[in-house]
């Protein structure tokens, strides 16, 4: 068989792609964004959600954040005792928990260092704002995102990692 010139072969590649795109089974590689949405991976780092009940205002996340974009304000208060008749416990009441998403690098260190499972990654990615100052989200908004946090995925065979649960 004589050698097909490379230029003709190249034409074949583009033509094949065109046929592939038009075939119902193939389809284009792109999606029409506002109408269809791609499903991000369950681990995708979209936005950080806060489970407020678990937060003890220990400030670990705020300290470990590489660009210090987490703001926490809290005051000490007395909570009702665990057992009836016990002494009231002293707890930190969270006043403010805000993440400045214009600074956040989405590195995930805060989620990782949180010792009480208060921070979670949500794959939600549609939280853009018109003004950059509006990207400073307070704890109400962070709490709302808890609903979008998916369950942790099971691990691949051979793993010894412990499965975790998302508190609801």
């Amino acid at each position: 068989m004589p050698k097909v010139p490379g230029m003709v072969k190249g034409l074949g590649v583009t033509f094949r792609t065109m046929v592939e795109t038009l075939k119902p089974s193939g389809g284009p590689a792109t999606v029409q964004y506002p109408h269809e949405k791609e499903e991000p991976a369950a681990r995708a780092r979209g936005v950080i959600a806060l489970h407020e009940e678990n937060c003890t205002s220990c400030m670990l996340c705020s300290r470990e954040c590489p660009d210090w974009c987490i703001y926490i304000e809290a005051h000490k208060t007395l909570a009702p005792p665990r057992r009836a008749g016990g002494k009231p416990r002293q707890v930190n009441k969270l006043d403010r928990f805000a993440i400045d998403y214009s600074l956040c690098m989405y590195c995930g260190i805060c989620v990782e260092v949180c010792p009480f499972d208060a921070l979670f990654w949500s794959p939600e990615y549609e939280f853009s704002e018109v003004s950059i100052a509006d990207l400073l989200h307070e704890k109400q908004r962070l709490g709302e995102w808890m609903d979008t946090v998916p369950e942790f995925e099971p691990y691949e065979a051979g793993s010894e990692a412990k499965g975790r649960k998302v508190p609801r």
């Binding site: 072969k9 590689a29 991976a41 099971p154 691990y155 691949e156």
Partner: protein
């Protein structure tokens, strides 16, 4: 900056520094876990690969070693970031030479690699997944099968690229004999990676000086070289490297041992005093971290040897007397990432 005589280059000198972000200095005020989030951004296309040498250097200082499962997964992700990086090189070369479609193909299939990186690490571009003594998390269920499909896609991209670009007479006319770098020049300028292998030097850190913590010995693979040293050779070597990389990933996926993914390390990491230099074969070439520790929470000094800086230092030598369109080909085929030059 290029000084021209008509369309002929008299002298061309890269002037780096416009993207200097001071990483070496920033690293000195970040704790060891925080540094990985920074160094991710040096070569932003193969970001996981940037973490690895630093982590390995820290591990060397702390004298810990990641468990075998973590090592294999680390190596797989390392190769995935190489695929993500070099497949973009193939597309970028096409765009620089005016073939827009090639760029689209590269972006299309690179997406499969990025999706795999994302579903394992959570981050598409900046995974921040490597930890001293292991990796952050284990793989999710179904990842191995999905990655194998992605590798098939990448091999198909390689075939398409070979037909569309390397086999094309126009491309050959543009790149063959353009920007020839002999091996002694390449060595004296300290070039590394595919640029060096394209000059015929058979040198790959993955095979020749693989630091402990990566498990390339589990796979059976080949280092490709090309004797010509021109732009065509550089492209060819990279394409073979992508293909070889998919085979490495496939083999490693089959041989992931079971076990833990983290070694025993203290929660607050303090690295004992000492110095360590670890270099790995990154997508762009040799990347090394020289870490000096004084036993503190933060490194005392971090020196980063990135591949692009050395690779572009050859530009003044190679661009003498070439014409402008060839300069484009040379620059595109040398393949540098601005962040990797200036750090």
């Amino acid at each position: 900056m290029a000084k021209l005589d008509g369309e002929q280059v008299v002298r061309c000198e890269p002037i780096p520094g416009y993207m200097h972000r001071g990483y070496e200095k920033l690293c000195e005020v970040r704790t060891y876990p925080q540094v990985t989030t920074l160094v991710n951004r040096i070569d932003w296309l193969g970001s996981f690969a940037n973490e690895v040498p630093f982590i390995l250097a820290a591990e060397k200082l702390m004298d810990v070693e990641a468990p075998p499962r973590a090592q294999v997964i680390r190596t797989i992700l390392f190769e995935l970031s190489r695929l993500g990086n070099i497949s973009l090189f193939l597309g970028d070369l096409g765009i620089q030479l005016g073939g827009l479609t090639i760029g689209f193909y590269a972006f299309r299939d690179r997406e499969f690699v990025l999706n795999q990186i994302e579903s394992a690490t959570g981050g598409r571009f900046h995974p921040n997944f490597d930890r001293i003594g292991g990796i952050k998390d284990d793989l999710p269920k179904g990842w191995i099968a999905e990655t194998k499909r992605a590798m098939d896609r990448i091999r198909r991209l390689c075939d398409e690229f070979e037909e569309l670009v390397l086999g094309n007479e126009i491309f050959a006319a543009r790149t063959r004999g353009v920007g020839v770098i002999p091996s002694d020049v390449a060595l004296s300028y300290g070039m590394s990676g595919a640029n060096l292998r394209a000059t015929g030097v058979d040198w790959d850190l993955r095979r020749d000086a693989c630091p402990p913590g990566l498990s390339y010995d589990l796979a059976d693979w080949k280092v490709w070289t090309h004797p010509d040293g021109d732009s065509y050779a550089r492209t060819w070597v990279r394409l073979q490297e992508v293909r070889e990389s998919t085979h490495i990933v496939d083999q490693l996926l089959d041989s992931i041992p079971s076990g833990p993914i983290m070694a025993k390390v203290p929660r607050i990491i303090k690295v004992p005093a000492g110095e360590a230099y670890v270099a790995t074969e990154n997508p762009l070439g040799e990347m090394g971290y020289y870490v000096v520790s004084k036993g503190d929470l933060v490194p005392f000094r971090v020196k980063i040897r990135s591949a692009s800086f050395n690779n572009i230092s050859v530009v003044p030598w190679v661009s003498r007397g070439v014409i402008i369109p060839d300069l484009i080909t040379i620059m595109a085929s040398l393949y540098f990432i601005l962040g990797d030059i200036d750090r």
